[in-house]
Each structure stands twice: as structure tokens, then as C-alpha cells.
């Protein structure tokens, strides 16, 4: 057992921090909560790509750095700490590149991986449908073979990244008669602007737009867009979901709020003394810190499992359910500590800490739903880790 980071890892963290500090100094962007999924900045992504921090874990022969998942976690942790606008490349770097490496043909690797590495693939994730949420296997969007192509018809919803995507990762039904139904599903990756594709934004509870409805009306994609084996897509997704759930964004999506809250508590006075001197406020902030640090250990454990070459199946489920619950408590506690000011919207007169508490309180409601609801994750823990009977 050793809880130390290697010299190389500490150096990497330092490098990322310096890079982000410099960016901030130049005023290139403002830190924000949910920046990893909501703040899309193609130029920022280009600069991150130039540093070699996209595809960090990929093998060198595919243009990656051949580094471990702990290293990647260090990079993403710092991005989140600074609230950097990393949405353009986040999905591609986190799971699409890995899926292509894992299941893609040589040709797909040659064609698609460089695109991701250059930070030019802004990927939307086309999974959920109106009738297929947690029960993803009951999805209806279909892909029907037609000569050298597939023709796609159907509808996706809650498509993260839909508003800025130029590529879409789509899960569709390729065998309508499959029993059980999850054995008739395949994965596709193609351009998001093909004829027949319509994206309709959904305004979320914060008033912002990051997820969308996507309609496919006879969208024709070449067969080369199929990723992996036909009708084996569901197994591939399960594996990808382990990665999707594994990241620090499930703990630190609203971290900028935490830092701002601490600062605010030190500087603002109530009843003649700094807020941070009130015993109840101290206890709340300290408890958040304790929960955050336990969460970080969960996240690093997941990365260690991946570095050992195992899929972090139950570990990432645990980490995500834990982490998102923490993020929700942080947002809620922030409003409590800010008191009446906590209710003020980002653009309101007199709003403290840029309205991050208001925003985060509302946006964090979705954290425990996306990428597997906490209930689905607990099912995974109970059935796959603890071996409890399904009936």
C-alpha cells in the first residue's frame, strides 16, 4: 500500500496547474461549475490537445502517451478544480477513444483516433430514448442494413453534448426480433450533421441547454460506422459505462462552488464576525471537505483498478453514486450557508459567488440520473459485487 503519487505524477499535476493558471491570467475563460459538460470552447480544447492531454492513456502507436489512468485522473481533476471549459473533448477523450481502440477496426482507428487527439471530435452521446432510460436495452431507434449502408430511424433524448456535437455516438437496434432484447443492439459513430438528423434543444432546470432531443429520419450511414460487432453493442456499452462513470467529474463537477464558498465564508461577516467562525458553518464546511476527500479516494481507487487492467465495474458504480450524492449535498449546503443570498440567480443584483450555488443546486439534480441512476448503480453493487439474488 502506498498513497503517494510518483514524482512524474506530481510533475504532471504541476504542469496542468501552471497551464491553467496561465490561461486564467490571460483571461481566456472564467471558471464555472459543470464546465466539463457545459462549457465548450474549441480553442481551449485545441490548446489541451497541443499539450498531449487528450488520449493520455492510449498506446503510443495510436498517438497517445501510453500513460496510466491515475495520470489521466490527475489531469481531469485539475481541469475540474479550475472549472476549465473542457466540454468539447471530454466525452471523446473519456470513452469514445477507448471504445474505438477496443472494438474499432484498424481503419477506424486510423481515421477516427487522430480526429479525437486533435480535439476536433465533439461527441454527443446518443443513448437514452423516451421509452428507454434505465432500461436501455428496450431502445427502439433502429438501424436497418441497406446495401453498404445502415438507415437509421428513431429518436434519442437527453443527448448530452447534443448542442455542440459534430459527431454522435449512437446505440441502435439492429435486430428487432432479438430475445433477450439486449442481444439486438449495435453501436455506431458518425457525423452529427448528416441529412435527416434534427437536434432540438431541451431547456434544463437551470435555464441552460446541454442535453437535447435528436431525431433520425432515414439517416444513411456507411457500414464502416458500425463500431465493434453487430448485435454485441450492449456488452460494449456496459464496458464503456464503467469508464463513463469512473471520472472525477462525478465528484468535482461543482468544485469551483466549494472553493468560492470557503472563500466567501472567510470574507463575509455575519453578526460581527466572519461566517467561517460560526461553529455551525465550520462544521458544515469541514464535513463537506471530509466527504470530498473520501470521494477522491474512491475515484483514485477506480483509476488504480483500470491501471491493473480490470474494468472498474462495481468500483465505478460505487464511486459515481457516492460522488454525485456529495455534489448534491455541496450545492444544497452552499445555499444554506449563503442564507437568503443563496437564492439569488447568477444575473441578479447582489448575487454572491457568481450565482454558482443557485446554478449548482439546480443542475446537480441531474447528476444522480445521467450515466446510470444511483438506483441502477446500487443494483450493480448488490447483484454483481455482493452476490445478492435477483429473485
Amino acid at each position: 500500500m502506498d498513497f503517494r503519487f510518483s514524482d512524474e505524477q506530481q510533475q504532471l499535476r504541476q504542469e496542468v496547474r501552471q497551464f491553467l493558471e496561465e490561461e486564467l491570467k490571460q483571461g481566456l475563460w472564467q471558471p464555472s461549475c459543470d464546465a466539463w459538460i457545459m462549457a465548450y470552447d474549441p480553442q481551449f480544447t485545441k490548446r489541451v490537445s497541443a499539450k498531449g492531454w487528450i488520449g493520455l492513456t492510449w498506446p503510443k502507436e495510436h498517438g497517445g502517451q501510453g500513460r496510466g489512468y491515475i495520470d489521466r485522473l490527475i489531469v481531469t481533476e485539475e481541469m475540474l478544480r479550475y472549472g476549465a471549459p473542457a466540454a468539447c473533448h471530454w466525452f471523446a477523450d473519456r470513452q469514445i477513444g477507448g471504445a474505438i481502440l477496443h472494438y474499432g477496426t484498424e481503419e477506424q482507428k486510423r481515421e477516427l483516433l487522430p480526429l479525437i487527439l486533435r480535439g476536433e471530435a465533439y461527441v454527443g452521446l446518443g443513448m437514452s430514448e423516451p421509452e428507454a432510460g434505465s432500461d436501455l436495452a428496450s431502445l427502439k431507434t433502429k438501424a436497418v442494413e441497406d446495401g453498404d449502408d445502415y438507415i437509421i430511424d428513431g429518436q434519442k433524448v437527453w443527448t448530452s453534448g447534443g448542442s455542440y456535437m459534430n459527431w454522435i455516438y449512437l446505440v441502435a437496434r439492429t435486430d428487432p426480433d432479438a430475445v433477450p432484447k439486449h442481444k439486438g443492439i449495435s453501436e455506431f459513430f458518425f457525423k452529427a450533421d448528416l441529412p435527416g438528423t434534427t437536434v432540438r434543444p431541451i431547456v434544463d432546470i437551470t435555464g441552460g441547454v446541454h442535453f437535447n432531443e435528436v431525431f433520425f429520419d432515414g439517416v444513411r450511414v456507411p457500414k464502416t460506422c458500425l463500431i465493434g460487432e453487430k448485435n454485441r453493442g450492449f456488452y460494449q456499452i456496459l464496458n464503456q459505462l464503467d469508464y463513463e462513470r469512473s471520472g472525477m467529474e462525478r465528484l468535482m463537477a461543482n468544485y469551483p462552488l466549494f472553493e468560492a464558498l470557503i472563500q466567501y465564508s472567510k470574507e463575509s461577516k455575519r453578526n460581527g464576525q466572519p461566517l467561517a467562525k460560526e461553529p455551525a458553518v465550520r462544521a458544515k464546511l469541514a464535513q463537506l471537505k471530509i466527504e470530498l476527500e473520501v470521494g477522491r479516494l474512491h475515484m483514485y481507487r477506480v483509476a488504480l483498478v483500470m491501471d491493473e487492467g480490470r474494468a472498474p465495474n462495481w468500483e465505478s458504480s460505487m464511486a459515481k453514486a457516492y460522488g454525485t450524492a456529495f455534489e448534491q449535498r455541496l450545492a444544497s449546503t452552499a445555499i444554506e450557508i449563503l442564507g437568503l443570498y443563496g437564492q439569488l440567480a447568477p444575473k441578479s443584483k447582489r448575487v454572491p459567488i457568481k450565482g454558482m450555488a443557485y446554478h449548482s443546486y439546480l443542475s446537480s439534480k441531474g447528476y444522480s440520473l445521467q450515466a446510470g441512476t444511483s438506483e441502477i448503480l446500487k443494483n450493480i453493487l448488490a447483484l454483481r459485487k455482493l452476490g445478492l439474488p435477483s429473485q
Binding site: 465550520r282 460505487m318 459485487k385 439474488p389
Partner: protein, 377 residues
């Protein structure tokens, strides 16, 4: 970074687990709890023969020369087995402080006897205010011609009724600030003027009220520097908090395992209750708490073991683990139903111990305040 126990630690864990499950069925725990001594001298001897008392003591004093992290593994197994008796008092509260700040003569005199199981130690720290702050130390040690005279009452002293020696925390000058002028003494429990009364506790362990009435101690029995003892006391408290966490992790891991077994076996409505999603989610929550406690505890134990400053990590471990235990125990009872609330069921041993452990060596509020200070609040 690496969270995998070493091969040696795995072996120690298996060996200790097997030994304790063989020698310490709950009937034996019950007998020890009900006995006056609170432990079994026979089992104590066997543990000494296995080298457990001296595990983390230097080899030159008859110890095994292993690390605190190794000791953590053993403590976890002891927690899982509900081992009663003065192991914790002797090793964590007696032996380790003597290694830290004992003189060569003191090490020579006491450590080999701790390692061999011959001598039982404890720490007399807390008093009527039941707090771990320096201000709560009111017991006085007044300078006399060739030594000191200790007067005062210590409370919640573990195993004082069987201890051969006590480390006594006393104020050597009452005109100074709370943290200054506190010293540690090694006191022979048979010294004239010492009396003890057993308190009855939720964990059925042996906590004592110990009264020091003009107890004479020679200068040679000062442990560490005169008047500079509080720093070491803080270190003892921190280390003991981590050690307590290790026991608690063993405790709740065992409780989780018992609960999963029960949920798989127990049938209602013609199916195992573990097939109901509510029960499954309770179990998932328990597992998450156990793993979080384990991660935080071993991080803190690793820091202690490496001699790194880990004030915040220790605070996080104890605050988190104490509360996690309560959540795990509550769900375990809910899943076990009425049978878990009976005196003949194993669960109650864990329930009682976990509550005591939560408040021993600092509870969540105590450590939240420390974290708050570390955050610069």
C-alpha cells in the same frame, strides 16, 4: 499509488483471521466480557507467542520490527473478532509512545516485557470533562525532593484494573497555558495511593475511574521531556484514533458480511429478502460506507506508518469512520429484523462496540473542528 496489501500483510490477515475465528467464538467473547479481568490470560499468552504484542516493536527489544501499517491489518482482524482485553491499551497506548520518546533505559526496561506479553500497559489521559483537549488535564504532578507527587482522578482509563503500568498525563505546572507544562509519567499501578473502580460500559469493556492520591513517582519515570508532554499526547491520540478506525473497519466489514449472508438466507414471501431491491440498496449503501471507511483509514494508517504529518487525514478517517459505522450498524439491524436485537445474536457485540469506538479518541465533531482549522477557517 497502490492500494494492494503486501504479501506479508495478506498472510498476517489470513493467519490472524483464522486464529481468532478458531479461538474466539462469541461464547468466548461473552465469557471474557463477564469475567473480572475482561480477557483470557491463556489467549493473551498465545497471542504473545504469535508475536502480536511485539509486532510493531523494534527487533532489538524482542519485537517483530513490522510497521504501523502491518499492525493496522492485525487491528482490523481484532475488530472483526471483537477481541476483548488489553491489547490496544498495551500496544497502542503503552508500547508505541515508549518507542517514540522513551529513554534507552525505559525502552530496555519495558519494551521486551510488552513484546513477551508479560506486562500490561495503559494510558490514563481523560478526566471528568471527558475531552481530548489540553485544558481538560487537571491531574497534578507536583515536584517533590526526588520526584513528583501525582494527585487527581482519571476517567475512562481502559484496563487499568489489570494494567501493570500506566502512562499518566499530568500537569506539572498549573500557572502555564493549557498546552504547556503537561508531562507524561510511567507509573507502577501498584504504587501506594492508586485506586480504581470499574465503570459499566456499552461495549462491556473495562473502563476505570482511577484515583491518584499523593502517588509518588521518581524523576526517572518521566516519559519524554518534562513540561513538553502535550505534543506527544496529541500524537498518541491521533495514532490511537487511527488504530480505533482499523478496529471499526474490521467491525463493519464483518457486520456487512453477516448481513449479506442473512439477506441471502432469510426468506419472506417465498423469496430471500436479499432479492428485494430495498434490501439490496441498503446493502449497497453499507458496502459504500465500509469501503469509504477502509480507504480513509488506510490512508491515515499509511501516513502514521510513514511518519508523515497527517493531521487532516487522521481527522478525516476518524470523523468519517465513526459515522459510517453508525449507518452500517443501523442498516444491519434493519435487515436482520428482531433477531438482531437479541442478546444471543452476534450482531449486538458489534453494535455495542461501534458506538463506544465512535466517541473514543475523538468523535466526528471533534475532528470536524480539526479539519476546519486545517482548511484555514
Amino acid at each position: 499509488m497502490n492500494l494492494t496489501p503486501s504479501e506479508e500483510q495478506e498472510m498476517l490477515k489470513t493467519m490472524a483471521g483464522d486464529f481468532l475465528s478458531d479461538k474466539l467464538p462469541k461464547t468466548a467473547v461473552k465469557e471474557m466480557e463477564e469475567s473480572e479481568a475482561g480477557y483470557s490470560p491463556e489467549l493473551w499468552r498465545e497471542m504473545a507467542e504469535l508475536g502480536w504484542m511485539g509486532l510493531a516493536l523494534p527487533e532489538k527489544y524482542g519485537g517483530g520490527g513490522m510497521s504501523f501499517l502491518d499492525l493496522a491489518v492485525l487491528l482490523e482482524e481484532m475488530g472483526a473478532a471483537c477481541l476483548p482485553g488489553p491489547y490496544f491499551s498495551t500496544v497502542i497506548l503503552g508500547g508505541l509512545p515508549i518507542i517514540d520518546i522513551g529513554s534507552d533505559e525505559q525502552k530496555e526496561q519495558y519494551l521486551p516485557r510488552i513484546a513477551s506479553g508479560e506486562t500490561i500497559f495503559t494510558l490514563a489521559l481523560t478526566e471528568a470533562s471527558a475531552s481530548y483537549h489540553a485544558a481538560s488535564v487537571e491531574t497534578k504532578a507536583s515536584a517533590d525532593k526526588d520526584g513528583y507527587i501525582i494527585t487527581g482522578t482519571k476517567l475512562f482509563v481502559p484496563d487499568a484494573h489489570v494494567a501493570d503500568y500506566m502512562l499518566v498525563v499530568a500537569r506539572t505546572d498549573d500557572k502555564a497555558k493549557d498546552e504547556d507544562r503537561i508531562s507524561l509519567f510511567i507509573v507502577d499501578s501498584k504504587s501506594q495511593g492508586i485506586s480504581h473502580t470499574l465503570l459499566e460500559t456499552i461495549a462491556n469493556d473495562k473502563l476505570c475511574e482511577v484515583t491518584f492520591d499523593q502517588v509518588k513517582v521518581s524523576k526517572e519515570n518521566i516519559l519524554g521531556q518534562l513540561n513538553q508532554g502535550w505534543g506527544e499526547v496529541q500524537k498518541i491520540i491521533q495514532r490511537a484514533a487511527v488504530a480505533k478506525c482499523c478496529e471499526m473497519v474490521g467491525c463493519i466489514q464483518k457486520v456487512l458480511d453477516m448481513t449479506i449472508d442473512y439477506a441471502k438466507e432469510r426468506k419472506q414471501y417465498d423469496r430471500p429478502i436479499g432479492s428485494f431491491q430495498v434490501i439490496q440498496h441498503y446493502c449497497a449503501d453499507m458496502l459504500t460506507d465500509v469501503d469509504g471507511a477502509r480507504l480513509a483509514t488506510y490512508q491515515a494508517a499509511w501516513m502514521v506508518s510513514e511518519g508523515l504529518p497527517g493531521t487532516q487525514e487522521v481527522a478525516i478517517a476518524k470523523a468519517w469512520t465513526g459515522e459510517a459505522c453508525q449507518r452500517v450498524i443501523a442498516l444491519a439491524h434493519q435487515i436482520h429484523g428482531a433477531i438482531g436485537c437479541t442478546i444471543d445474536h452476534d450482531l449486538q457485540y458489534y453494535t455495542r462496540r461501534a458506538k463506544a469506538a465512535e466517541v473514543t479518541f475523538g468523535d466526528a465533531s471533534f475532528y470536524q473542528e480539526i479539519v476546519a482549522q486545517e482548511m484555514g477557517l
